[in-house]
Assembly symmetry: C2
Homo-oligomer: 216 residues x 2
């Protein structure tokens, strides 16, 4: 692994680690808006799963000889900004954000997996296998839109706003992290690697919105 590769790997793991810690925080916060104690516990359960991933990423960073706090630090502002700009105002918006956010995180993990060493790839595979905690969100959104069809349009717009903000904050981060940008351009040798990444992410997002009954 070259020094640049190592820098990029630490950046990737740092970004994911803070992503998981901030996801814990936001899911725990949004859980409070649940209309039932079981809904509240289900969203709290998603938060706990994210925190488990955070712990695995921190262990991996330590194993690589990196300081976890230093590795996360460059990504705190962008992720906090993402959450500040996508604060749900209803329980249904919280559910859509939980499901879409979980899916976006999985997309980022999959992208990252192509660039990392075998041990880190194993960790990522484990994290990705640890899914299904967002299934309750899909069920609740489908039930709600079946009962109140007029909800769909508003939630579809909300979904677009979520992915728009995610892409915008990712671009901010990439503009500031040279090693990361170099890594993402390594497939094609130019900026088009970043473009195809964004295309893959928006395609996956569209699929997820369809799963929620909020597509096209």
């Amino acid at each position: 692994m070259t020094a640049t590769d190592k820098d990029a790997l630490v950046d990737l793991l740092g970004a994911l680690a803070y992503g998981e810690l901030s996801a814990f925080d936001r899911l725990a916060h949004d859980a409070r808006r649940a209309p039932s104690l079981s809904g509240r516990a289900a969203m709290a359960g998603m938060a706990a799963v994210e925190l488990g991933h955070h712990g695995s990423l921190i262990d991996r960073l330590r194993h690589l000889g990196a300081d976890p706090e230093e590795a996360m630090e460059p990504f705190v502002a962008a992720l906090d900004r993402f959450h500040a700009k996508t604060e749900p105002s209803t329980w249904h918006e919280s559910l859509v954000k939980a499901y879409v956010g979980d899916g976006l995180a999985a997309d980022f993990y999959r992208e990252v997996a192509r660039f990392v060493d075998p041990s880190t790839r194993e960790l990522i595979t484990e994290v990705l296998a640890d899914s299904g905690s967002a299934a309750f969100a899909v069920r609740e959104v489908l039930t709600a839109t079946a009962a109140t069809p007029s909800l769909s349009g508003r939630l579809a717009l909300w979904g677009r706003r979520l992915v728009g903000e995610a892409i915008s904050q990712t671009q901010h981060v990439l503009a500031e992290r040279d090693a990361l940008m170099t890594l993402l351009m390594s497939d094609t040798g130019d900026i088009s690697g970043v473009g195809t990444l964004m295309t893959r992410i928006t395609d996956n997002h569209a699929r997820r919105m369809t799963t929620l009954g909020l597509g096209g």
Copy 2:
């Protein structure tokens, strides 16, 4: 098990289950005030442990044929009031509350263990074994008061307020739940059973404040 015993058991498990869910919520909220990302993750980790206990209690309630939401419902107001009246205003107050709250919960579990069937007792033993997540709070409080001795007096007062509110809300709850009160009086046949329970809890609390360097 008589019908009254069963009612009391469902009450006990319901109270503990909502206690754990609200502890998750408050710890997750207080984690945000941490001065470092590792402190934030440590307190978030405590929250996740409490949520795990919540899940075990819910399973136990279901196994007993009780509706978990109904079982928790009578205790929501008292526990929410406890947290509203003990909202920490600093990170150090959050740490003291995390440690003291975890200890108070353990006390309640131990009291409860004396009254329950063997399977429920096994669950309680498991929950009590699952400790140590508050050790970071003790370390951080000891470090902080060593550096700033004037903190001790204020945090000692804070600890007294926490246990005072816990006892006051417990008494509120007992006054309204006949089956629970009957159970607690079953040792002595009169109200003095409740008095000795409170004495044991305040004694344990005093021990914990000493561990935090805030005793005497």
